[in-house]
Symmetry: D2
Amino acid sequence: MLNRVVLVGRLTRDPELRYTPNGVAVANFTLAVNRPFSNQQGEREADFINCVIWRKQAENVANYLKKGSLAGVDGRIQTRSYDNNEGKRVFITEVMAESVQFLEPRGASSNSNQGQGNDYYGGGPGPSGNDFGRQQNNNQNRSSGGFNEDPFANDGKPIDISDDDLPF
Amino acid sequence: MLNRVVLVGRLTRDPELRYTPNGVAVANFTLAVNRPFSNQQGEREADFINCVIWRKQAENVANYLKKGSLAGVDGRIQTRSYDNNEGKRVFITEVMAESVQFLEPRGASSNSNQGQGNDYYGGGPGPSGNDFGRQQNNNQNRSSGGFNEDPFANDGKPIDISDDDLPF
Amino acid sequence: MLNRVVLVGRLTRDPELRYTPNGVAVANFTLAVNRPFSNQQGEREADFINCVIWRKQAENVANYLKKGSLAGVDGRIQTRSYDNNEGKRVFITEVMAESVQFLEPRGASSNSNQGQGNDYYGGGPGPSGNDFGRQQNNNQNRSSGGFNEDPFANDGKPIDISDDDLPF
Amino acid sequence: MLNRVVLVGRLTRDPELRYTPNGVAVANFTLAVNRPFSNQQGEREADFINCVIWRKQAENVANYLKKGSLAGVDGRIQTRSYDNNEGKRVFITEVMAESVQFLEPRGASSNSNQGQGNDYYGGGPGPSGNDFGRQQNNNQNRSSGGFNEDPFANDGKPIDISDDDLPF
DNA sequence: TTTT
DNA sequence: TTTT
């Protein structure tokens, strides 16, 4: 059935790349998408939309996007649920990205402390043939929080990701 | 910023219509949207996507759609959060419908126990000028759950809806 | 780059199925999509949007949709041009459908003179495993117009379709 | 009925701003949207999609976008037809933009010969309150072609635009 | 805790 | 618990 989402926004933090036991890459990131209208206090708000992307594009996202990057997403809304550590069912609504477009011009927002430039590919959803040989989690400093409110925090539940989550 | 969602699916239950203290109508409903692919067990799954709609269209939705109705939604993803009764912050991702299209043909799925036929208006997002004089919650029998997991359950928190939630 | 179209409308005539020299199926159809607003004369107008779909789904469309069928389309806008018989370049804008959803309930609008019922598959973009063994053009009576206004009329230009038109 | 288009692409030339007899602004522009796949010759192609936008946003587009600017569009497909100077009916398919997002960072692609910087407003579809006092056609050098292939060329048919074209 |  |  029809289920289509298109977003343009900025990453609220570096993407988080992980691998399933079978070696399939998956990246999570959150887009801040500014609303086109102001609230009753006259302020512009944003929506913070969790996104997931799989396989090669997950690695591209991890390599080329970082906190603050402007990106476009074309995908579907997916919902899932899991039981949290208090035995309570938690429902998740997120965007399964089918393609991601890097909208940051060459060298933009590269005032990063990571020395890892992210390039701009107007012509497509990412680089082709550029494999940097580093697809590990570039976000390893997000771990070990004592609480578990963010379903995207993978800290306490590595078991939560499995090849069964692959939606195709 | 670009934020667009289009869905076609079936209501998982009757829509829930409420009013803000200022008398603004708002309806919540959940669309079951079947996935176009099968999972590893060969089963077709669905995504259950919470939707909100405001004002006149909320009343149309409450009057013309019910559990099982096929409907199309054009809108935006919105996120919000609230503190639940355990003082924990809960994050909600839902679709703010800007228009809803009734896709059920005349008399279809009218095997309802409510004797309230829902019509089909291919020409637009709903009836114009048909006011049945009954926009009250047609779902009043959903109440009194002891728990509070579903943010769409309005039972214990009428205060949760205010005119401040109006996004425009 | 982002290019996404979602439509719901009714076929203005039976779909037109053809095959490339290499045997790849392609179907053309036009969706009438009613506008959600009225014009200055208070009339509701419609947009007539040409769509193309390839391969197996082209055959499904030809088998299950006909004039008047309600359908949803998810796809991309594509543009192309060709030189007409007067040596003038003609520009075409059409929707490359990536998936089509049949929104007609079982037996609906089957008041057809073709005795070819079209079914309703809420669960997906088409039938799986139902091959009627007849994918030929079910529209052969559209031919031989002396004029050429409709770019979808293939009458005088069988050469216009080749495997090169396959966009992937 | 559902009719939704989302595009990200680059303007193929400066936008063309005009006014109806009643003083309503309307701008036309064409987006080049690169395809995410290559053709049989291994080349990346683009789709050239004609867009229209009305009123205040038309003036914003004319003031802030120019040839080469990266922009996002959210809108609907509209079709119309007119009789050309040879008495032949011409069918037009274009995108009625409901909002346009400027995706060019500050000062980007300002290697223009017009000395007219275009700014970047991540926060919305355009500037509010910045009126440059010049909304006239900034494209007056496009006229007087002897042929009429581009339906957007307004050269010979100023009558073609009227307030009746306003779709709302 | 879900639709057909 | 957020982007510019």
